[in-house]
Symmetry: D2
């Protein structure tokens, strides 16, 4: 089974803010995923998605997010913590898809400027990703004081994150493979 | 103390979706608040707020939301439930203000098309409003099957909501008055 | 693969209160599970578990709960909602096990006397079951006004629950099978 | 108004586990509260409360917890984080009271052995304390790696907590005073 097509795990950069440290996090995670055999990735920057308030999400769909989501086996969501919750634009983007998520895996990277690594945005996202049909793995990567974890160009300054990312990616890839097996081979009966 | 200027409780209509049943909810709540003595209100429609993705919220502030928030003694948030969470644009609007919320009261009206009255969006909003400095009262109004609660023009079809709204507004006004007393008379010492 | 040993899905009756309506819910769910082919079940009543406050959970383990959990492929948790959260004894019992839950499925039945079907206890349990290593499926069964759903002897009075239970059990059995396949065949690599 | 009887803020030690580091936290918080003028405190150790599973909480009430809660103006809950949730015995103790909490303030100290200061148990408790009628303040004290914050006898090793506790207690005392004013002087009308 595992010799089939590669597992596709896009990284969703969950903020549109300029000068976003989360961008460094998303790029780092994508680099770490790329080290794995038989896994492919790419960054989906929600800053490239249009957010009109006067349609029902069609333009987001047209922007390619749904197509990417449909092909994905799993997702990494890079979520900065704003007031203990998730960024509004991230939620709006996530809400646009529905069937694209069913029985796929998700891992969440929490990002904060303070000491608690976005733990609270992760807890806040859990009911949402479940309702979307995603399976949240039980490892997270918590980027605390993110401004000290990367330099301005996005170079990682704290090597401890490499091991954490590896553990997280292995678990996510495991769940992605298992759920893909399920989608392709096990009937709901 | 209670003979002072009226309590101001704006109602935040928390969605930009067209054909929003939540609009009927917001208007209904504003009508019910207006029945109370010495309380004033108004609907803040987040559909009237610009949501550019390339600034740090300045244009939202300019749109008058911060000014209204600054003058408010309490808020009602009308929150439709999307995938067990809050609408992205609502969160984005809320995140734009900071000091405007401190030590003020908030009551949440959950809205859903299904049978559970937006209970889940309310739970999901609790950590956010707390972090904003708001005090969430312990009464909610839960609009279940909202499409049956109002007709197309927004006329209330289920009178049971009048009593529920009254109980909720009384508690919210109580908390608003008490916190205003605190802001004006009790020092942090 | 699916011709192997049956899937074992114990139902955890999550309260010790006397006259518990949740007991009827647990028995009903067990009866519905038993209708499925190649699935076995049984009720784990936490009222039969000792709750001393002066050990580290050894006596709970001795009471057979860990052994059952170890053999399970999935769990149903019947959780009455107490003050929007989970019953204390249920949490204490769940906390006693650790490795017994990893990569297994869980479905939650919310129970309340009021109209909202225990939706809030379900949201409150999500971060806990995730941390335990369980995968919460995205269907729930919500028992609202549970006192009207069963008679005193536990006979179901509202047949609508049969269909809801069936949908929920099918999804849970699917996830249980898929994760068992994963545990037995897919390496974390 | 503020010259009246002192504010009473008991500290609830939210675990019964032997060798609890949370005990040092509770004692530390009580010492810090005692430094404030016109505030009195005391530690309520839930390890001293009986937890029979065969009554409806009467023996907990008899153990004096309800009496203390009735007299309190505010509470501090010292909550160790178990699997991202609250300890079962803590919840069971909290659930025993009802009217004793209404319109009183609560501040939560999260405790964890890891780096995230019990942030997750705090988020998990928020819907519960709200439903109990308590107002959760928007400051927390987060005890990360608690085993390094105190020595074996409970002496504080990291002085940074003194400032954090002070800020938290000032806010809690403010809210306690304001809500007491409300309970005594403002009618629900």
């Amino acid at each position: 089974m595992e010799s089939g097509r590669p597992i596709f795990i896009p990284v969703i950069l969950g903020t549109t803010r300029k000068g976003r440290m989360s961008e460094h996090v998303a790029n780092f995670m994508a680099r770490e995923i790329a080290k794995q055999e038989n896994v492919v990735t790419g960054v989906v920057d929600i800053g490239n998605i249009p957010f009109p308030t006067d349609d029902a999400g069609e333009r987001i769909k047209d922007a390619g997010f749904s197509e990417t989501a449909m092909k994905a086996d799993a997702f990494i969501i890079v979520a900065p913590e704003y007031n203990h919750g998730y960024p509004g634009f991230l939620k709006h983007a996530l809400d646009t898809n529905l069937k694209e998520y069913i029985h796929k895996a998700v891992g969440i990277c929490g990002v904060s400027a303070g000491p608690f690594g976005g733990t609270r945005v992760i807890e806040n996202l859990l009911p949402v990703v479940r309702e979307l049909g995603l399976v949240a793995i039980f490892w997270d990567v918590n980027f605390s004081a993110v401004q000290n974890a990367f330099d301005e160009k996005g170079k990682l300054l704290d090597e401890a994150y490499v091991k954490r990312a590896e553990k997280f990616i292995k678990e996510l890839a495991w769940m992605a493979k298992v759920l893909r097996y399920g989608r392709e081979n096990v009937e709901l009966s």
